[in-house]
Subunit: 265 residues, 2 copies
Amino acid sequence: MPDSIFNVLQDAIREGNPIALATIIEGDGVGRKMVLDPTGEVHGTLGNTSLDRVVLRDMSGELEAGRTGTRHYGRNGEAREEELTIFIESFAPPPQMLIFGAVDFTAALVRVAKVLGYHVTVCDARAVFATTKRFPLADAVEAQWPDKLLETVGSSLGVRDAVCVLTHDNKFDVPAITAALDTNVGYIGVMGSRKTHDNRSNRLREAGVSEEDFKRIMSPIGSDIGARTPEETAISICAEIIALRTGREANSLKQGSGPIHKPND
Amino acid sequence: MPDSIFNVLQDAIREGNPIALATIIEGDGVGRKMVLDPTGEVHGTLGNTSLDRVVLRDMSGELEAGRTGTRHYGRNGEAREEELTIFIESFAPPPQMLIFGAVDFTAALVRVAKVLGYHVTVCDARAVFATTKRFPLADAVEAQWPDKLLETVGSSLGVRDAVCVLTHDNKFDVPAITAALDTNVGYIGVMGSRKTHDNRSNRLREAGVSEEDFKRIMSPIGSDIGARTPEETAISICAEIIALRTGREANSLKQGSGPIHKPND
């Protein structure tokens, strides 16, 4: 490993900063390495700029997911070719998703979030619903009030993380949202019909949530893909999270004004 | 079970037509039933029109996924309330997804498709890649040419089903796409950069694909959410499939003209 790359890697790991390392393990240039940190700083090269560009894009995705794995490319980064095998290692914890509300939609969201590499916590104040038996794939299930949980874990949340509020009850939603706004979490999505949303917005204003804060709240949660089942809704939420992180137009329900479901659905 | 509902159900099952049945199993009106067929025809009621409307929407989603399960509602269909427990049964096979190409993206798409309830077949002519070891969650893995597989299963494909072509090689893509166009499959998505797409479009025209047929081909595949990793790409593909089925704006890459990834990605 070249000194410069080793030093960058060592410093990042020592300080607990996320960093990704790519190494060619099969094909031309075996052993070439490149590192990427979340600010976009790059050290090293895999051999040519078009290969670097493609692999850096994939590294940023893998780093975001805290994921390590093997990918295949053509010599100049062509997708779906097999000339080069590259090992991408993320030195980073997985991103976190906190789901408030142990409801019908929660189990499906846990399953899709796990595919995306999240460490998933399900939290509901109602102990009878917040059980590992109902959410076997969740990494943690907490029978607690949302604001209590966020007191404990809130400071660890950052731009890669997500809070999804599915409780649909002002008693739980309002403390969950206000506590989430006090963190640096990258995504806050809140479920509910437009009517519920308006009612909740009034409660949130009463609780001191500013107009600036409201911009951070994705409500109604999800992309406007006409999701019907819990599984489809989980896809719509994750699509919105990805689009926000990559700066794309998420076609969010938040931006629309019509009903979430078409009248004749 | 009222006679009329029993008869409708019996006829549908006897003829092998998909049909969904909802029954209140806890709360007010236990035992009330309603059936829905894929043409939208409804028999019976669960007690009031707003409850029926919400449950019918969920039934159509479950029926599409060939899925059976329990959902909770308020008395008037309020989501995320627990007054009523309703059992929704789909008398229908699961929808099918055929994925052509055993590439890096395939395993992630299999995982997300399984959450959505698809019966998933992975097909690649290269026997060394088309193995159950690489795709443990797939329902079937076929080492076969795409057009050969479609000769066998093509007639069973309908509007709920999907064909995803991830091979990115004209040798495989062109026969997969032309054979898929000969079926009634509801979704045909094809992976590739815009450059590959243009090149492939010429080959498809040479192979006799009409302008009308081109409208059915979603290429480049997926919603424009800036997906980077295979897992994010899987979400983008499934979001596009759902949006097309429900008549929403999928924000498809097909409709755009810019690069699939931002230059600075």
